[in-house]
Every structure is written in structure tokens, then in C-alpha cells.
């Protein structure tokens, strides 16, 4: 039962992911600015495909992989299976992105695009294998179930993605491309991101708030509802493609999310720690922001004629509003700790604390700028107002740049300490 220092993985399995993801985040927001007019059109176009994949794979997934390498041993109370696999995965991911993203941006699908896609899928398989090996015999409970199942959905999403890439040049799928694209996107969002967030936060929120609640039963209900909805969505989408299939899956996932929020509410009300720092405030804000993509998706069901702009707004509200806000907040909960753990020696009382490694005020300002940018971009998409797209994207670039320098500032403390 006793946690120990043995579960602290090497810095090389984690910190390069944080640094690389922060850099890709800046590149993604710069591309948003360059391609601001593209947000006014249909969601299926080269520039948006490139931006979406860069945001999803290079920013969010990359950082989540790094964080998982830190959290999987903590959740399972076991050591990381390998210190080398994370480095190989990172190299494969970055190389895969370098090959794939330009092919979307210039809409030129060549053998290099397939190589990039195959490298990304290989990286995901390797990472999933590594997480599974680390957590296999651990004490993870429902948190581990969510994390491991999320990785299964990630592999499925990436496999469908690779098939779609082939289908772009050599059409072989029986139905139209957009049909499979919706399955690819929805499975990735709910199966990978949402479920991973549920699993990880089910451990981190009680830990950071010092919650006394142990009501994990609600999380079990969440787990089954979300996965039932996803399996049904996948099977229905690939076979019958019924009219009521998608709304039913949507309701199942929504109901699952409702039970997750009951769990979060219980954690909040039973928290011993009443005063939240900016990282936790941002996390709760992100959890509230998740309602917006669901509202926009409901609107897309009801008003199919406005669907293309609503779907773009849905994607932006999910990845920029929910996922990015959450990641930015959690970065300043986890990264200072990771760096502090590596700076602190067991035979010496520490002179500084994790909170001394970053600026709380800068985290708040980053968030204000980021949220303003996000809301402007969202309003620009919904009202097809170009200047709002430009203004919103500019603020996102500013926030992402601040975030990158803040992350590098924290990592540099460890580098200086080690010299």
C-alpha cells in the first residue's frame, strides 16, 4: 500500500513530451491565425484537417502521453514498464506528424502521408502496450479501466484514420468519406479524450482537493454508459447507419457524463481543501466548458442546414475550449511537481516547493487571454465574422506562446539544478 519513490519515472520519459507539446501548441495556434478564413467554410477542408490533426495529435495526445507516463505508475502503484519506450514513442510521433500534417495542409496525399500515418499508429500501439504493461497487475480500479479502454479507442480511431487517408486517394470504403470521418472524430473525442480525462481526473481531483468521498460507483456507471454508447455508435455507423442510432449514442454518452459530474460534485463538496489554486480553478472551468460542445452537437442534430459551421464550432469548443483549457490548467498542477520531485533529494530538506517553480499570476493571465481568444474565435465561426476569427486566433497565439515560455522556464529550473 505504501507509495514510494520507486514509482517516480525518469525525467526523460516525461519532460520532453511537455516541451514538445507546448511547442506544437504554438505552431497550431499560428496555423489557426494563418488559416483564419478557413474557419468560415465547411469543416472538411485541407487547412482545418491539418490544424485539427496537429492539435489532436501533436498538442493534446503528445502531452497526454507524457502525463500518462507519470500517472500510470502512480495509479497502478508500480514502476514504469520501460524508460526507453517513451523516447521511441516520442520520436515516432514527431516524425509521423512531420510527414502527415503538410500532406493535409497542401492536400497532397503521397506515400509520405501513409508513412506518417503508419508511424503515428505504430507510436500509439507502442504507447498503449507500454501503459498496459505498466498497469496490468496494478491496483488501478476504475481509473485504470478508463485509461486502458481509452487507449483501445485511440488505436481504433487511428486505424480508421489511416484507412480514411488511403480512401482519400484510392476510394474503397462503401459509403461516403464524411460518414466515416464522423465516426473517426466522435470515437476519438468520446472514446479517447473524454474517457481518458474521466479516468485520470477520477484520481487527480480527489487527490488535489483532499476529498473524502469514495463514491466510485458513479464512475463505474459512467464507464459502462460511455462505452456502450461508443460500441453502439461504431457498430450502427458501420452497418445499419440508422436514423436514431446517433442520437441514442449521444444520449448514452451524455448520461454517462452526468454520472461523472455527480462524482465530481461529491469530490468538491467533501473537499478538505477549500481554497483552489489557479490550476484547479482552470480544471473546473474546463469541466464546465464541456457542456458547450454537447449543446452545439445537439444544435447540429436539430438544424442540419447550419451543420457545417456548427460542426466546426463543436470541434473548436471541444479541443480548444475543453481539452486545451484542461491541459493548460493541469500542466501547472503536474509539471512543477514532476520537476520538484527530480530536484528534491531524500537526504536533504527542500528549500523550495513546487509552487515556487512557476508564476501563479502568469497562469491566470494566460487563461484570460486564452479564453478571450477561444470565445472570439467561436463567435467568429458561428457568425461567420472574419475579423473575430483573426482576433481570436491572435490571442490564442499570444496565450500559447506565454504557455510555451512558462513550460520551458519550469523545465530549465531542473536543467540548471542538474548542472
Amino acid at each position: 500500500m505504501m507509495p514510494s519513490r520507486e514509482y517516480i519515472p525518469s525525467r526523460y520519459a516525461i519532460l520532453p513530451y511537455y516541451g514538445a507539446a507546448a511547442f506544437v501548441f504554438v505552431v497550431t495556434t499560428v496555423l489557426c491565425l494563418v488559416a483564419a478564413p478557413a474557419f468560415a467554410g465547411h469543416y472538411f477542408q485541407p487547412k482545418l484537417l491539418a490544424i485539427t490533426h496537429l492539435a489532436v495529435l501533436g498538442w493534446a495526445t503528445l502531452l497526454i502521453f507524457g502525463a500518462t507516463n507519470q500517472l500510470a505508475p502512480v495509479i497502478a502503484e508500480r514502476s514504469l514498464y520501460s524508460e526507453r519506450i517513451p523516447m521511441v514513442v516520442l520520436a515516432l510521433l514527431l516524425l509521423g506528424l512531420l510527414l502527415l500534417i503538410p500532406s493535409f495542409w497542401f492536400f497532397s496525399v503521397t506515400r509520405w502521408s501513409y508513412t506518417g500515418g503508419a508511424l503515428l499508429l505504430t507510436a500509439m500501439l507502442l504507447h498503449a502496450h507500454h501503459v498496459f504493461k505498466t498497469m496490468k497487475h496494478g491496483r488501478g480500479g476504475i481509473a485504470a479501466d478508463c485509461i486502458l479502454t481509452a487507449h483501445v479507442w485511440l488505436i481504433l480511431t487511428a486505424t480508421i484514420g489511416l484507412l480514411l487517408l488511403v480512401n482519400l486517394r484510392y476510394p474503397f470504403l462503401p459509403q461516403e468519406h464524411l460518414h466515416y470521418l464522423k465516426i473517426h472524430g466522435s470515437v476519438g473525442m468520446a472514446g479517447w479524450f473524454l474517457q481518458l480525462v474521466i479516468g485520470v481526473s477520477s484520481r487527480l481531483i480527489p487527490m488535489f482537493l483532499l476529498s473524502r468521498s469514495e463514491k466510485t460507483g458513479w464512475l463505474t456507471v459512467t464507464y459502462y454508459l460511455v462505452n456502450l454508447g461508443l460500441v453502439f455508435f461504431l457498430v450502427d455507423g458501420m452497418t445499419a447507419n440508422s436514423d436514431w442510432g446517433r442520437p441514442l449514442c449521444f444520449l448514452l454518452v451524455l448520461a454517462g457524463l452526468g454520472f461523472y459530474f455527480l462524482f465530481v460534485k461529491k469530490c468538491y463538496t467533501s473537499a478538505i481543501r477549500k481554497k483552489m489554486d489557479s490550476g484547479m480553478k482552470q480544471t473546473f472551468l474546463a469541466l464546465l466548458l464541456i457542456s458547450l460542445p454537447f449543446v452545439l452537437l445537439s444544435a447540429a442534430f436539430i438544424r442540419p442546414l447550419s451543420a457545417p459551421s456548427l460542426v466546426t464550432a463543436y470541434g473548436v469548443s471541444f479541443f480548444i475550449g475543453f481539452i486545451s483549457t484542461l491541459i493548460m490548467g493541469q500542466t501547472f498542477k503536474t509539471l512543477p511537481f514532476i520537476v520538484w520531485m527530480h530536484m528534491t533529494k531524500p537526504d536533504q530538506l527542500p528549500e523550495i516547493l513546487p509552487k515556487d517553480l512557476f508564476s501563479e499570476r502568469l497562469v491566470q493571465w494566460q487563461m484570460y487571454v486564452f479564453l478571450s481568444g477561444y470565445l472570439l474565435l467561436l463567435m467568429g465561426i458561428l457568425s461567420t465574422t472574419l475579423w473575430m476569427n483573426y482576433a481570436g486566433a491572435s490571442l490564442l497565439v499570444l496565450a500559447a506562446t506565454g504557455y510555451l515560455f512558462h513550460v520551458l522556464f519550469i523545465i530549465r529550473k531542473l536543467v540548471n539544478h542538474a548542472l
Partner: protein, 109 residues
């Protein structure tokens, strides 16, 4: 944390407590005494051992091993010549009633 003033180890226990004020929970920024994480201190003259029973704010805390090392280090400084043994215990479960007034204030109560 209170000790019986007639206890022959009263003074050394007080000195250990004072030393443990330096050990801070890194997430909360509050020392482990104000947090009420230390359950008991026993001093054995026969084998020159100090036994400290303590808990963590959460069982899955990744810093448990590090905090335990720092408790050992601080107690050894306060009780030179003694071997310090730290036991992490999970019963009784740590709760808000164990936190001092100062700790409550820092946690936003």
C-alpha cells in the same frame, strides 16, 4: 500534538515535533504537524529508537516515499544518537478534524 509533561521523553518528543514543523506537504504548502499527519511518537531507550506513526493526506500520494525520508531526516536531527523508524499508517483515516487552526486557515476554511 500533545504529550504528557510527566513523560520522561517529553522534551525529546517536543524537539522532534519542532523539527517536523520543517517538513512540508509540497502540494498544500503546509507542514505535516499542522496538517495532523503525525499520529504518534514513541521513544525507546533500550534500543535507542524513535518510532513515528504518520499518515499521508491521500494513500495514492506519489511523494509518500520522499516525505517519509524527510521526516526521518528531520527527526534524526532533533534526536541525535537515535535511530528513527517511520511507519506509514492508514487507520484511523486522516480527516479534517486533525488539522490545526492554522492549517484550516491555510486550506481556506
Amino acid at each position: 500534538m500533545h504529550f504528557d509533561i510527566t513523560d520522561i521523553h517529553y522534551r525529546i518528543k517536543q524537539e522532534i515535533v519542532q523539527a517536523l514543523f520543517q517538513v512540508v506537504d509540497p502540494e498544500l504548502g503546509i507542514n505535516i504537524i499542522d496538517l495532523g499527519l503525525v499520529y504518534g511518537i514513541a521513544v525507546e531507550d533500550t534500543d535507542k529508537t524513535v518510532r513515528i506513526d504518520m499518515t499521508l493526506s491521500t494513500p495514492s500520494c506519489p511523494l509518500g516515499g520522499l516525505i517519509k525520508s524527510h521526516v526521518t531526516l528531520a527527526a534524526e536531527t532533533a534526536a541525535p544518537g537515535f535511530t528513527v523508524v517511520v511507519n506509514l499508517v492508514w487507520e484511523p483515516r486522516w480527516n479534517a478534524e486533525r488539522i490545526s487552526g492554522q492549517g484550516h486557515a491555510l486550506l481556506g476554511w
